[in-house]
Structures are given as structure tokens and as C-alpha cells.
């Protein structure tokens, strides 16, 4: 079995090599974030670490503002898409009617359209009606991003609840609404959590809409990132710290709901 050992060693080596490639940018970021700007161009790995970058980031309040803005629009969009999406997902799971699949299909299709395709009319309308550069404006367009995800994931959860159970509860004299709140919502809670977190990742990371429909009063972290890059005095260390702080929560979140992320992105092509 000597050759088997060699094979498994080679396998590990291959995996390790790619793991290094995958991790390298992250390690690099961490290093830079502890580096002083004056050491940026003349040292690689050996330098005197400093917490200055993080200190500046948090003391100015500017970055915290971007972070909070991002949080407000992401959470707002998710709440709005839950309100709109839960009933829609329920209807698609429970009721039979003509054209049901076509409607479900239509929801899905937005995931594939280039954002840049719809942004022009929205930009013009937003400027006209005063939604440009407002929280609500971004929340509104972001819920269009998260709605399809919400509907597609929740529909599966609703379908897993047996109709008989629902009917039994109705026969016991509970109203439809009571059944929905007391029985169905608790049953789909895991789906609700998964689809909310998934939507959160997509909305948090969105750039095109944040860039074109806001940017002065309401600035998300993705747009802020470029502000750091394009400003005259580039503070690499602060940028790295900002990237790390705004990305780490998302990385942890994404790893936690990996399966759903794969499904969401492949739109159900893989059950994972």
C-alpha cells in the first residue's frame, strides 16, 4: 500500500497549496492592518506592529457611520422582503392555480438580470421623487434583490408542512390567521433565519445600487471602500482594517449558512 500513501500525500499537498492561495490575501490584509503607513512600501513581513489603523478608524466615527448605514439598509430590506415574501411563498406552496409555476419562475429571473440594466430608470425616478441618497430608497431597491431569495427558500419550507396538519388545526376551530401565526410561522422559523441571513449577505455586499442610488448622505461600506482608495492620501492600513471589519461578520455568517448560500446562488441547481 505504499503507492496509496504517496497518493494521499499528493492529495494533501494539492489541497494545502490551494488553501495557501485562498488564505494569502486574508493574511496579507491582517498584516497590512497592523502596519504603519510609512512601512507600507519598504517592508513585507518584518515590521513593528501598531494598532493605530484601528484606532483612527474607530475614533473618527466616519467608518462607524458607513457600517451603521449598511446595517440599516440591509436589515430594513430584509424586514420589508419578509413582509412581502412570506405570503407570496405561502401562496406558491399551498394554493393551486393556473400559471403558478410561471409566477414562481418570474420571481427567480431577476437574480439573473444585470443590475446595471434596471438602475438607470430607478436612478432617474429616485432623483425626481426625492428617494435618491435616502435610506428608504436603498431599502426599497434592496428588497427587490432579496425578495426572490426569500420566496424561493421559504416556499420549500412551506411545502414541507403537511396540509393535513393545517386542516386539523382549522377543524379544531382555529382561524386561518391563528393557525398561520401559532403553527406555521414557528415551523418555518429555520427557513426564515436562513433566507434572512442569505439575503443579508447579498444586500450587505451589493455595490452597484449603493454606488448609483446613494453615496453622499447614505454610504454603505462597499462604496466607502472605494472612497478610501480614490482619496488623494491613500491610507492602506486603515483601508485594510476597514475591509477586515466590514467583511469578517459576513465571512462568519456565510460559513454558517454555506449550504443555503450555494443553493441560493445556484438557484436550486444543487441541493447541497
Amino acid at each position: 500500500m505504499k503507492s496509496n500513501k504517496v497518493v494521499s500525500l499528493l492529495k494533501d499537498l494539492g489541497l494545502l497549496l490551494y488553501a495557501m492561495f485562498a488564505l494569502f490575501p486574508l493574511v496579507w490584509l491582517v498584516i497590512i492592518s497592523f502596519k504603519h503607513d510609512r512601512e507600507m512600501f519598504n517592508t513585507t513581513f518584518i515590521f513593528s506592529p501598531t494598532l493605530d489603523n484601528y484606532r483612527v478608524l474607530f475614533s473618527s466615527g466616519e467608518f462607524i457611520g458607513y457600517f451603521v448605514d449598511n446595517l440599516i439598509v440591509s436589515v430594513g430590506a430584509i424586514i420589508l422582503s419578509i413582509v412581502v415574501g412570506v405570503p407570496a411563498a405561502y401562496a406558491l406552496a399551498r394554493f393551486d392555480f393556473k400559471g403558478k409555476e410561471s409566477i414562481a419562475f418570474t420571481f427567480l429571473s431577476f437574480r439573473f438580470a444585470p443590475e446595471i440594466l434596471v438602475v438607470l430608470p430607478i436612478f432617474l425616478i429616485y432623483q425626481k421623487i426625492g428617494l435618491y441618497d435616502t435610506y428608504f430608497g436603498l431599502i426599497w431597491i434592496f428588497q427587490v434583490v432579496s425578495l426572490p431569495l426569500m420566496i424561493w427558500i421559504l416556499r420549500g419550507y412551506f411545502e414541507d408542512i403537511s396540509v393535513e396538519m393545517e386542516h386539523a388545526a382549522r377543524l379544531d376551530g382555529y382561524s386561518w390567521w391563528q393557525v398561520f401565526i401559532k403553527m406555521i410561522i414557528p415551523l418555518i422559523k429555520p427557513g426564515l433565519v436562513a433566507s434572512s441571513l442569505l439575503s443579508f449577505i447579498f444586500v450587505w455586499n451589493n455595490f452597484t445600487f449603493s454606488l448609483l442610488l446613494a453615496g453622499q448622505k447614505v454610504t454603505t461600506t462597499t462604496v466607502a471602500m472605494l472612497k478610501y482608495v480614490s482619496s488623494d492620501t491613500v491610507h492602506y492600513g486603515q483601508m485594510a482594517a476597514a475591509v477586515l471589519i466590514s467583511s469578517l461578520p459576513i465571512i462568519i455568517l456565510a460559513l454558517a449558512i454555506q449550504k443555503h448560500l450555494v443553493r441560493g446562488l445556484s438557484m436550486g441547481a444543487v441541493k447541497g
Partner: protein, 321 residues
């Protein structure tokens, strides 16, 4: 098989359909669905239609002018140096990006498959770049591959000196239209960044596919005296073909509409060596106020994505019923 495209049953509607009255269920369904349907129809189909309409108009200044221009904007674009460069870059980017992601994703998934120790650690390491915004990826790789900082400080010590995305060389250059056809070297840097971000996703998809292959298949092959290598080459990899199709299509729609990554990482580049339609659309519409031209670029992008996506969606729908 576990990997079929969603296993939802589609209720068969009886062929003979009497004129039925709307039941309470129908009203409820309508009430539940209307907000979403209206939203999607206005914000997606309505606005795509509007963009299509603008793309056929004369509106190329700040003053709205929706008079009909026919194909003028499209004809202009296809004769435009920048747009021709965009088309070249998109093709190069899409082919390289998908090719590398598919090969690497499949390869890594096979290495990971049937590995008991450390599987989840590797999977997580491969997967985490997925979680980042394309903008973040762009910013990170812009520093990393920046000729004056980044890894180059390190690589120079070994005598390697690459200009990465600032390189204006075009490999295999030949004259076509107004541009030089071939592979822009600068695009390779962008491909590296995109591969870094998306390979983990392909690995996850292939792993799901590998898990769905029953152990009996391998065992039967082993009984017949096949070596592990043969089992993969002759049986497993062909069985993964449907996954490959999905990966290709998902990656294609990402690469054809790519904007954030390139906008953050390189911008259009000197001589437009890293320009793509998304960046051109953004600059011409929102910086230059050529609304009709921008709309035409967006429509061409939609069309290119649709060529991949529509057949896929139709076939996956057929698979469901």
C-alpha cells in the same frame, strides 16, 4: 439522485377545466401574491422594457429626448473602439475564468472527496472568499498585484517582475475591426481575483454532486478491477457533467455582467485592456450622460446573459415537471 434541479412536484392541472368560481383560496392566493408580482413586474420587467426603449432613442445628453433613433446606438457601439475592446475582454475573461473555475473546482472537490480528516476545514477555507463583495475582492487584489507594492515587493527578490493589470500587452495579437484581438495580459490579473473568489463555490457544488453518487457505483467498479484513477476518469467525472453545466452557466452569468470587481480593481485600464461593458455602461451613462448609448450597452449585456440563462432555466423547469 440528490442533485436534480429541485424536486418540487408540479401539480398537474386537469385538462378539462370547467369555468370554476374563484374560491376563497384563490382570493387569498391573489392577495398574497399581488404585492410581489407587481413589484417584480414594475422593477424588473417594466424597467428593462424602459431601458430597451431608451436604447432605441436619441437621448444622449442631459436633456431627455425619447425620439426614435432605430438601431443607431447599437450600430455606433459596434463600430466603437472601446466597445470592441470590451467584447474582446469579456470573451477572454469569460473563457479563462470559467475554464479555470471548472477545472480547479472539480479537481479540488475530488481531492477533498472521501477525505475524512480536515475536510470541513479545507472546504471552509476554499469557500470563505465567496462571502466577500466583489468590490472587496477587487480592492484586495488591486493592492496584492499592484506593481509597486503587494506581492511584487516579495516576488522581485526572486527576479520575478510582472506588471500584472497595468500591462498593456495583448498576447497573440491580430488585427480585427478597430482593435487588436488576442488575450490582454492585464486581464489575467482580473481572472486570478475572480477565480480566488468563485472557486470555493464550484468546489461546494461538485462536492454535493460527488456525495450524490452512491457508494455502490464505486464498489461495483472496484469489483470489476478498475483502479481508483480509472473510476474517477471513466465513471465519476462523466457523472458530474450536469454539475459542470450548472457551474458553467452560473459563472457565465456572473462574468458576462461583471462590473464591481473590475471597477474596483483596475477600471478601464490603459487602451481599455481591462474594460468591460459594465464599466463602459457606467461611465458613459452616469459620468458622460450618454443615456441611450448606456442603455444599449445594458441591453447587449442582457442579451448575452440570456443566451446562457434562458435555455438553462427552460430545461431545469422541464426537469421539474
Amino acid at each position: 439522485m440528490k442533485t436534480v434541479v429541485s424536486e418540487r412536484d408540479v401539480t398537474v392541472v386537469p385538462a378539462v377545466r370547467k369555468k370554476r368560481k374563484w374560491t376563497a383560496d384563490h382570493w387569498l392566493a391573489a392577495a398574497f401574491l399581488t404585492p410581489s408580482v407587481v413589484l417584480i413586474f414594475i422593477f424588473v420587467y417594466g424597467f428593462i422594457g424602459w431601458t430597451g426603449y431608451v436604447s432605441l432613442s436619441n437621448w444622449n445628453s442631459l436633456v431627455p429626448d425619447l425620439s426614435f433613433a432605430g438601431w443607431k446606438n447599437y450600430i455606433y457601439l459596434f463600430h466603437d473602439f472601446r466597445f470592441q475592446a470590451d467584447l474582446r475582454n469579456t470573451v477572454v475573461f469569460t473563457v479563462l475564468f470559467i475554464g479555470v473555475v471548472v477545472v480547479l473546482g472539480q479537481f479540488l472537490a475530488i481531492l477533498l472527496d472521501q477525505k475524512l480528516r480536515g475536510e470541513s476545514i479545507f472546504r471552509n477555507i476554499f469557500f470563505f472568499p465567496m462571502a466577500l463583495s466583489f468590490v472587496v475582492t477587487g480592492v484586495i487584489w488591486q493592492w496584492l498585484l499592484n506593481p509597486s507594492t503587494g506581492v511584487n515587493l516579495f516576488l522581485k527578490k526572486f527576479g520575478l517582475d510582472s506588471k500584472w493589470y497595468t500591462d498593456t500587452t495583448i498576447l497573440g495579437g491580430f488585427h480585427i475591426g478597430k482593435i487588436e484581438g488576442g488575450v490582454p495580459v492585464a486581464m489575467i490579473a482580473v481572472v486570478i481575483a475572480a477565480v480566488w473568489q468563485m472557486t470555493g463555490f464550484a468546489v461546494a457544488m461538485y462536492l454535493a454532486g460527488l456525495r450524490a453518487i452512491p457508494e455502490e457505483v464505486r464498489e461495483a467498479a472496484r469489483m470489476d478491477g478498475a483502479t481508483e484513477f480509472q473510476i474517477y476518469r471513466k465513471i465519476i467525472i462523466p457523472m458530474l457533467r450536469p454539475i459542470t453545466v450548472s457551474v458553467i452557466i452560473i459563472m457565465a452569468h456572473i462574468s458576462l455582467k461583471i462590473f464591481d470587481l473590475i471597477y474596483a480593481m483596475t477600471g478601464p485600464g490603459a487602451n481599455f485592456v481591462t474594460d468591460v461593458p459594465g464599466v463602459y455602461m457606467f461611465e458613459t451613462t452616469f459620468r458622460g450622460n450618454y443615456y441611450a448609448n448606456g442603455a444599449a450597452i445594458a441591453m447587449i449585456m442582457l442579451l448575452s446573459v440570456a443566451i446562457f440563462i434562458v435555455p438553462y432555466l427552460i430545461s431545469s423547469r422541464k426537469g421539474e415537471s
